[in-house]
């Protein structure tokens, strides 16, 4: 799907990260790697420190903390919020939706639209498309786009493929109409034939959690997982990213009649350092235009990595310009792809806060 929307923008971003930090080197003993392999992969894949939520912490709790801080800082008022769109694969509960929990925590109007979208790493770009669509019905009100996951708890501590890169975070992006002419372009693609290349076998209605699904088994590579844990076919997913993402990005550029050289930044979902390095090479884009340091600093927090990247690099990105041509691009569970191309103004609020864990 390719679509364009008139006069939409992002006006503020907040990322809420767990204060708790885990260092890859402290977990080396859990993985079936030699020490030399570990050191090599630390550099190549970006295994570093990752922010990890404490057991029982939820997407809604992180979002509520962030939204409250934004209201306290005067970014928006409760009356200005017309919709809450949440993209996550780790909702607090089956029922109720996370967006309704967030709505209930504030004095938002009862006609506030609440939408939960089950999306992982593509959640920011998919959610952004839905936010743009929703804005046409909201008149002057704003959309709070909440993106993020608490997936650390769903990854086995003995899974060397996924555990060293998985982090937790939740971001809130304020999306709104603008009187400044600004056409934004969006793309979404899906390949459900590969849906099970990233999945959690147990915990839904198909395979309920039982003592049997909790038992861990070792695979041929020495990873130990239960059926309650996330499992990923890394090679298949990597090939999907490298083959299909650039095609989607190029189609979007063509749709927008924009030359790739005019794009100032490519803010992509950060799954691993290696993947983004190869993606930049494939697109023949200088790595400086595609920030690639979130995994070693905070971990891959699924649909939060794009707004986390914005928060990390906002000042340097806008050091010399008041507006930038930015392409957001993401890939992941589904398997899904999403992208958005837009002129991004230097807005006045883009920050991190740490989530203060209850001890």
């Amino acid at each position: 799907m390719l679509a364009s929307y008139k006069n939409k923008t992002i006006s503020a971003v907040m990322s809420v990260l767990p204060k708790h930090e885990v260092d890859f080197m402290d977990e080396m003993a859990n993985y079936a790697f030699s020490e030399s392999q570990m050191k090599k992969l630390k550099k190549v894949m970006g295994f570093g420190t990752r922010r990890v939520a404490k057991p029982g912490e939820t997407v809604s709790e992180y979002a509520i903390l962030g939204i409250r801080k934004m209201i306290d800082d005067g970014v928006f008022t409760e009356k200005e919020v017309g919709a809450i769109i949440v993209t996550t694969t780790s909702p607090d509960h089956f029922i109720p939706p996370v967006s309704n929990i967030i709505q209930g925590a504030f004095d938002f109007d009862t006609d506030t639209i609440c939408i939960d979208i089950s999306q992982g790493c593509c959640g920011f770009t998919v959610g952004l498309s839905y936010a743009f669509m929703t804005l046409d019905s909201l008149k002057g009100k704003k959309v709070l786009l909440v993106t993020g996951d608490m997936l650390s708890a769903k990854v086995s501590i003995y899974d060397r493929a996924s555990r060293p890169i998985t982090g937790d975070a939740v971001s809130i992006s304020v999306v709104e109409n603008t009187s400044t002419p600004n056409e934004v372009y969006c793309a979404m693609k899906n390949n459900g034939k590969s849906a099970f290349s990233v999945y959690i076998p147990a915990g839904g209605t198909k395979v309920p959690i039982t003592p049997e699904t909790t038992a861990m088994k070792e695979d041929e590579f020495g990873n130990k997982r239960g059926l309650n844990h996330l499992v990923m076919q890394g090679d298949l997913v990597f090939n999907f990213i490298i083959n299909d993402t650039p095609v989607m990005m190029e189609e979007l550029l063509q749709f927008a009649q924009e030359d790739i050289r005019n794009v100032d930044y490519f803010i992509c979902h950060q799954s691993s350092v290696f993947t983004l390095k190869k993606l930049a090479q494939r697109l023949e884009v200088p790595q400086e235009k595609m920030p690639n340091d979130i995994v070693p600093l905070y971990g891959n927090s699924s649909s939060a990595t794009i707004p986390v990247t914005l928060c990390q690099h906002f000042e340097e990105m806008f050091a010399e310009k008041e507006k930038l041509k930015v392409m957001f691009a993401a890939f992941g569970t589904g398997l899904s792809l999403g992208a958005a191309l837009m002129e991004l103004p230097k807005f006045h609020y883009c920050k991190f806060i740490d989530y203060p864990h209850q001890s």
């Binding site: 392999q37 992969l41 894949m45 041929e220 590579f221 490298i242 083959n243 190869k278 090479q281 494939r282």
Partner: protein
Amino acid sequence: MKDQVIRILSELRPEFDFTEDVDFIEAGMLDSFDLVSLVDTIEQELGVAISGMDIVPENFNSVDAIISTIERNRK
């Protein structure tokens, strides 16, 4: 280049003999993480960028396949 490739492979997984005429992937001598490490080492030592589209098992399952991959990416 053959000796250099065998040396890189042996440093990566010293427990295996990469002069043997076997499929490195099917024999379990290299897994997907080894491919990532191997690509990075080749890029550093030989100054060639391996296209992400070429990072598939069949391009790394023998010394000859690895040399072909390197040469293809040099062009």
